[in-house]
Amino acid sequence: MSDTTTDVETTDGPVDEARQALLEAIASELGDDVVDSHLLPGLDLWVRVTPDAWATTAAYLHDRQRFRFFNYLSAIDWLPSPFGRSMDAEVDKALGLDGGDDDDADDEQQRNGYAGGDTRFQMLARVHNLATGLGVNLKCDVPDDTLTVGTWTNDYPGAEWHEREVWEMFGIQIAGHPGLRKLYLPGDFEGFPLRKDFPLAARLVKPWPGIVDVEPMPEVEEAEAAPAVDAGPSTTNIEAEGGEA
């Protein structure tokens, strides 16, 4: 857990005054409820708040900061997939393409992304201020024991369907939601499909074939033979596989 206040990065890079000012306003209003933040100058802003402040943050942004446009609300499961990346084919490992040659050990550990975090699940939402043209990404840890966060529907009625989706896909309870019921899935569906430990059955039945090295057309081969510097695989073509979706 990082500091209670925001660790504003004061590097020599480009300065994003509008987002910086917004971040300071949020931090001063919400105080200790802002756990961490991340600012990419000119690109985007991430703010992580405590689980208890999740609903009040929405109210503050909507009423006081005039973030009137509700963009989306979702969640992230940070658990490293127990099935690997489902892409660890023997072919790729032999070629050193499995994407994990330098961080194999890290793959076993949970690494939460921007603005940090300690829990397995995080809420993720985004709202937009049309007057200033700024959007802000909001995150909050979902407590592992209760798996419950507050609802946003009081301030953004559009969050209702998004929260139903989070509830059915991740199994996260939304306290105060007007009607949590299945949105996409059949009523008797069991399990939470977007959790990392929910297997994608099609991938288990028919494993990833690997980045198949497709032979190039003769003329391409001749053209590529001229520079003759490539030691790697000859094309980037990746063979698509069917039987899913």
Binding site: S81, G135, D155, L185, L194, L200, T235
Partner: protein, 390 residues
């Protein structure tokens, strides 16, 4: 005497009670009307369960998921270049537009910028997709209100645009043409002149449609003042695209945050309408096609030469990080929140689609409307089921 009056009284009370029972049944139960899942007005398989009191809708609940394909899960087991194949199928009428925000998000994470010519080609194809998408909307709109003629014109003229998309990308509906770092191919010879001819045909089509539909008394009567969305309500539900511009909100990502597409190179304007009713939304779309034609026309004239691919590694690995990129798709704002932990596949992709938010207002919007207006309102919100269900 008394006995008779007692009997009468009893009979009267019994009759009243029976009436009351019937009334209670009628009032409390209402009637439940199922619209869909197979209904021409649903662009796929949407089911709307409406509780009616006579002709009036008391409550309406959209039921979806009939086309849920789980793209967010599937992206986690695909390499980055493969994802574009998947997301093509989200909004199947504006397929190329689905690829662009995802590719832009990856480019942002990899810190790559596509060369200018690739940006032009992207923008042109993006707008051609919008033209074909909304051309079909304008024809389909007539069908849903009982006018059969416009749709034949729409299908005829949309085909010209699809031919141009096919000539450039190889696919009529699913181009799968955008690549991290640029586009797959350059435009074929003679394409620019042909496209200009096609734009002329679409201009004629729009004039026809404006006469046929927007000048039609019945059309006006059935859309004016129907399905009113105040701007602040629309924003809190996350409505975007023509739906929110039809409520007078002057916001278009193409102008306000073009994100690596070259809309600033053309002279065009954002169309809004203050009324917020079904007519306003349809009218905004009609004018938007005209603006799109103008954008494509200007970009075709000012196209720079040069490479169409930036230098990208053969095997694409995206560095660790998170990025959210959104673009103004034909249906509204579409964005991808891409989480990468390094490696060949995304760790998590959250797909923000326009129709999902646009439809989430329907329970609020349909309350108190009349059954024939339900179809008008759904048509004016314009959604694609694949875009709702993902």
């Amino acid at each position: 005497m008394t006995a008779i009056s007692d009997r009468r009284q009893l009979a009267y009370v019994a009759a009243q009670a029976a009436d009351a029972r019937v009334n209670v049944e009628l009032e409390a139960e209402g009637m439940t009307l199922n619209i869909g899942p197979q209904h021409p007005a649903t662009h796929g398989t949407l089911r709307i369960v409406a509780r009616l009191d006579g002709e009036q809708v008391i409550a309406a609940e959209p039921v979806m998921g009939y086309m849920h394909r789980g793209y967010e899960k599937l992206t986690e087991v695909r390499s980055y270049p493969q994802v574009t194949t998947l997301v093509n199928r989200i909004d199947w009428l504006g397929s190329f537009a689905n690829e662009v925000p995802f590719i832009l998000a990856c480019e942002q994470l990899m810190d790559i910028e596509a060369p200018p010519r690739a940006q032009y080609i992207r923008t042109i194809l993006f707008e051609l997709g919008r033209i074909s998408h909304l051309t079909l909307f304008l024809g389909d709109l007539g069908v849903q209100l009982g006018a059969l003629t416009p749709v034949f014109y729409a299908f005829r003229d949309r085909e010209h645009v699809l031919n141009q998309i096919e000539a450039a990308t190889g696919g009529r509906f699913h181009p799968n043409f955008d690549r991290i770092g640029g586009v797959k191919d350059d435009l074929p010879a003679g394409w620019i002149a042909e496209t200009k001819q096609v734009l002329g045909k679409i201009r004629n089509f729009l004039d026809t449609i404006e006469d046929l539909l927007f000048g039609n008394e019945i059309f006006t009567a059935r859309t004016r003042g129907i399905g009113l969305i105040p701007a602040d309500v629309g924003l809190s539900y996350g409505l975007s695209g023509a739906n929110i511009r039809g409520s007078g909100v002057d916001w278009d990502l193409r102008r306000d945050n073009p994100n690596g597409l070259v809309y600033d190179q053309a002279d065009w304007k954002v169309v809004t309408h203050p009324d917020g009713d079904a007519f306003a939304r349809c009218w905004v779309r009609l004018q938007e096609v005209r603006e799109s034609i103008s954008i494509v026309d200007q970009l075709l004239d000012s196209m720079p030469s040069g490479p169409i691919m930036a230098k990208v590694p053969r095997i694409i690995k995206v560095p660790e990080g998170e990025a959210y990129v959104e673009t103004e798709n034909p249906l509204g704002v579409m964005g991808y929140y891409v989480v990468s932990q390094g490696g060949l596949t995304p760790f998590r992709v959250k797909i923000r689609t326009a129709s999902f938010n646009n439809m989430s207002i329907t329970p609020w919007l349909l309350k108190g409307t009349y059954v024939p207006d339900v179809i008008t309102i759904l048509a004016s919100l314009y959604f694609i089921l694949g875009d709702i269900d993902r």
